[in-house]
């Protein structure tokens, strides 16, 4: 499945901050690592800040620090700030074919929500670590 770009960037950023909650990071630093627009990422970070995941750091250089509990924040918590997993479907009398397809799509949505809702940032960082230990190709542009 695909995530919207903002949700994906938010997840990358949340992982960067959660990996070391004592570290202060700027949008420019993260944007450089993932080769994305600093301006675009800054908007994403502001939204994460308003949600309480990040706290703006005072002083020279600015930036943010992680302000949440990586063992409690799930991927769904982050994604949900930027997009809805599972489309809303119209209510009311509809064709049987539409209702049948909606039932199938709802099943997929429920699985997606359960998956994202069961993986915390802490668990995701462990998964990142497992990938780091495997032989891998050079990282490409973040999509």
């Amino acid at each position: 499945m695909k995530l919207q770009q903002n949700a994906r960037l938010a997840l990358y950023a949340a992982l960067e901050f959660a990996a070391d909650p004592t570290r202060q990071l700027s949008a420019a630093e993260i944007a450089a690592k993932y080769r994305i627009s600093t301006h675009h990422l800054a908007k994403v970070l502001r939204k994460l800040g308003r949600a309480g995941l990040l706290r703006a750091a005072r002083g020279v250089g600015g930036g943010y620090r992680f302000a949440a509990n990586a063992k409690r924040v799930t991927l769904l918590d982050v994604i949900g700030l930027f997009e809805q997993i599972g489309a809303t479907r119209p209510r009311g009398a509809r064709r049987n074919e539409e209702r049948a397809l909606d039932e199938v799509l709802a099943e997929i949505d429920e699985i997606a929500r359960a998956t994202f809702g069961s993986i915390t940032l802490a668990t995701m960082l462990k998964l990142v670590g497992r990938h780091a230990r495997r032989p891998q190709a050079q990282p490409g542009r973040a999509g």
Binding site: A114, G117, S118
Partner: protein
């Protein structure tokens, strides 16, 4: 702070505490069920494991599982189908240690995969198994009502 003394095979004298832990989680007391589990998965049952985690004071949790051969077309693998930890003993690594203990028994039995089946509406339990490194298995559970 929880200081686990050991993870060991369950005994009949543990059943009252296991039943209470399970009832605290599910809201259901199942003495007959747990007596049956002890009979089928207790000590000296080959490839079947019913373990408890104990401190000096009490049983803090339980885990039940077995090696299943060729079910659902899968080569032999370990299955965990029951795990419970006292609420006051959570977040202390009890579940993780029990899972590692049963996985070690699975390894000694010669299997290299462990699976479990979880309610997708139970994010706490889902998150626990995910935190231990488990990912989605290549199976899809299906069901239907028998009319």
């Amino acid at each position: 702070m929880i200081y686990l003394k050991r993870i060991r095979a369950a005994r009949r004298t543990d059943l009252a505490q296991v039943i209470a832990i399970d009832a605290g989680i599910t809201g259901l007391r199942k003495p007959a069920y747990w007596s049956g589990i002890l009979a089928r998965y207790g000590t000296r049952q080959r490839q079947r494991y019913f373990l408890v985690a104990e401190t000096d004071a009490a049983v803090q949790g339980y885990i039940v599982g077995e090696v299943r051969d060729w079910e659902f077309g899968s080569p032999p693998c370990g299955w965990v189908f029951g795990l419970g930890v006292r609420p006051e003993a959570r977040l202390a690594g009890v579940g993780a240690r029990m899972l590692e203990a049963i996985c070690e028994r699975f390894r000694r039995a010669g299997v290299t995969t462990v699976r479990t089946l979880l309610d997708r509406d139970d994010p706490l339990v889902l998150a626990f198994f995910r935190s231990q490194g488990m990912m989605a298995a290549p199976f899809i559970p299906l069901q239907m009502e028998l009319e």
